[in-house]
Amino acid sequence: MSVEAPAAPAIPTATAPCATTPAYRRPLPLRQGHDLVVRSVRSETPGVRSVALAREDGGPLPEYVPGSHLLVECATPTGTRVNAYSLTGSGSTPDAYPISVLHRADGAGGSAFIHRLVPGETVRASLPRNGFAPTATATHHLLIAGGIGVTPVLSHVRSALRWGRSFTVLYAHRDGAAPHRGLLRTLCGDRLEEVSGRDVLAARLPSLLARQPLGTHLYVCGGTGLTEAVLVTARGLGWPEARLHHEVFDAQALDPGEPFTVRLDRSGTRLEVPSGTSLLDALEDAGLTVPNRCRQGVCGECRIAVTAGTPLHRDGVLTAAERQAKDCLMPCVSRAVGPALGVDL
């Protein structure tokens, strides 16, 4: 197939315009952002809005691997936030980046910003990034989506159809809250199975996961509860970690945690991290700069090395082996087991 090489969009090297509220401590500018124009907006289901972002001149955009996401700068009442939104296209020769966003009334304002967008507006976004790509050596792909977690799964489905990969989809939703259901039914035909409600899903999972051909890789995207249920069931049935791929979109409200002391090895200073303050916040309050993006344990950008003490991991990035090693943590969400922690800063 002849694929037209897409010209890279102009990526200005100047820093992102993030000086909305100078008082805000961490504006989180995108280091490599570029401006995209809202081409179209559409309501999928109540509360879910699809937005297509394109180049101003309508030209081709860089291709992406299915399951990729964009980081989008969102203007919120508390300042600029950078949120990650999954792309729903196949990734081949895109002339727009489609995202679907669920409005969260209790969120920090990012989804409300996306829902307010109208065609013609400019937003600042990263190039597509991926932590949820299909595995090339898999002989079958089992895709499990929960609610709005359908967005990367839709991307996988489109790509799988395009390239002839074997796949099946399990879509768990509450009735009336099933974005892209009609589209998935059309694309997948009898490769789509729908379950409605948590109990039905829990009853279906063991039989589904016990009978997947050897060579299957599992991809699950949904809320924390659904993702955990799927992964726990799979591990119980002997699935190795290498076959399990997950992406969590709703950061579980974390408890404030116990206070602890962090020792900074390079300067020899000690910092108190009170309950309710994240380690990352405490480090920044002390004037340290730790590269970070999502601040909710998803992206892995803020990872720092641990030299002493035992980390209390609460992120969704590290593998079981990396957690066992106790030599690093994500300071945005993770804390310490016990009174003290040493970090290589």
Binding site: T139, G215, L237
Partner: protein, 167 residues
């Protein structure tokens, strides 16, 4: 792992396999071949077993390193991941050597440091690099790194090419 597929290549290999499996031997599909090679029959049996297995199945391979690694390469091609595979390999009297010059593979005694390539008639020096994909050790033309001994000829092949161009 709920179930296992196991393959061994000789009687001592089977004994090691049984020791390794212990009580897990109860839910293991097992085949034993007295063969020094991972050949047609073993490959057919393994592919049949892997093709009808579900995720949650492990693979145990017991035998000399040459057939064990050949079976491993087959299993990885069928979509298994290394976490699911246990290798009980032992030293092999012979090993496969890959010739990057003619891309042929030849079998030589494990102790041999050089081997003649039947494909291109070069003498290959055998290196410690092992390719899981090719299931072979890397060979390379022996003496290629030594400075030329004769003053007249630099690269022994240079003259031949020059001659070809002249003709």
């Amino acid at each position: 792992v709920r179930r296992r597929i196991a393959l061994s290549f000789s009687e001592p290999d089977r004994d090691r396999l049984v020791d390794h499996l212990g009580p897990a031997g109860m839910d293991t599909v097992y085949a034993e071949y007295v063969a020094s090679q991972y050949g047609r029959h073993q490959a057919r049996w393994l592919r049949l077993q892997l093709g009808s297995a579900f995720v949650g199945t492990g693979l145990v391979l017991s035998g000399p390193s040459t057939p064990v690694f050949a079976a491993l390469a087959d299993a990885l091609r069928m979509g298994m991941v290394s976490e699911e595979i246990v290798l009980l390999e032992r030293e092999d009297a012979e090993r496969r050597v890959y010739c990057p010059h003619c891309r042929g593979t030849t079998t030589a005694a494990s102790s041999a440091t050089t081997v003649g390539c039947p494909g291109c008639r070069r003498t290959l020096e055998v290196f410690g690099h092992f390719s899981r994909g090719l299931t072979a050790y890397l060979g390379a033309a022996a003496g290629a790194e030594e400075p030329p001994s004769g003053a007249a000829v630099g690269n022994p092949r240079a003259g031949r090419y020059a001659g070809e161009v002249a003709a």
